[in-house]
């Protein structure tokens, strides 16, 4: 099976999205410091088997769309000292994202 596949996507490049601010039970790949933060979709990377299911020896279905989401550093860290345009990009799966209000 290929690593990624073409599947229906909920968000598109430029969309403002919020990372779900939920606690986890078990494995996930969404870092704590991004939860509840708002960013912009920078890339739609395609469908991947769901790591939250693969971690328990399941087939990883349904597949999850993976997005590259861009966050401003100053939105993430209190009293950030660097240039205002500094940002980071993180891979976030669709089940963790909602459209920003």
């Amino acid at each position: 099976m290929s690593a990624h596949a073409r599947i229906a996507t909920r968000f598109t490049i430029g969309d403002r999205v919020v990372v779900a601010n939920r606690t986890t039970l078990g494995h996930c790949r969404t870092p704590w410091y991004l939860r509840g933060r708002t960013g912009t979709v920078a890339e739609v990377q395609g469908g991947y088997h769901d790591p939250e299911r693969l971690a328990y020896h399941k087939p990883g279905l349904p597949m999850q769309v993976l997005y590259k989401v861009r966050f401003l550093q100053s939105d993430l860290w209190r009293a950030y000292q660097g240039p205002a345009s500094d940002h980071l990009e993180a891979d976030i799966y669709e089940s963790w994202l909602e459209l920003a209000p």
């Binding site: 039970l25 078990g26 870092p31 704590w32 693969l54 971690a55 328990y56 020896h57 860290w77």
Partner: protein, 135 residues
């Protein structure tokens, strides 16, 4: 068939709800950026993971992450990168019933005996494979 492992998350003390391993943004002091050589056992551990996860498909890399995240905080912070890996590989092989816990323990004893016979120092404490996380 093996049973599916249960979902659990151990929280970091004072971490405001974050899991033990999820330390991004916490202050752990400066990073040591010096290059260092890998020990032979570390290279072997790396090779074992590639064989088991990529070639043999005994488990996915996500399962390995999950097992490492299941260590208790003290053990997570105390162990090195490849120490986490080799424990996780052992725990997954037992979980997937590829080998038994007894087989691993027996082999560890054999190797320890060989080293003692050769006059090398061997730690006498038993290995806490599950890393002290409450089970």
């Amino acid at each position: 068939m093996t049973q599916s492992p249960t979902r659990k998350t151990f929280l970091r003390d004072g971490g405001d709800g974050r899991a033990v391993h999820d330390v991004g943004g916490l202050d752990f002091g400066p990073i040591d950026r010096h290059e260092h050589d890998l020990a032979l056992w570390e290279k072997r551990t790396d090779a074992m993971l590639i064989l088991l996860a990529s070639k043999k498909d005994v488990f996915k890399i996500d399962a390995m992450r999950r097992v490492i995240e299941d260590y208790g905080q003290q053990e997570y912070d105390r162990t090195t990168y490849y120490e986490k890996w080799i424990r996780a590989i052992r725990n997954l092989l037992v979980e997937q019933e590829v080998i038994s816990a007894d087989e691993v323990d027996r082999r560890v004893q054999e190797v320890a005996a060989q080293h003692r016979k050769a006059g090398r120092e061997v730690a006498s404490d038993s290995i806490d494979w599950n890393g002290s996380a409450p089970r």
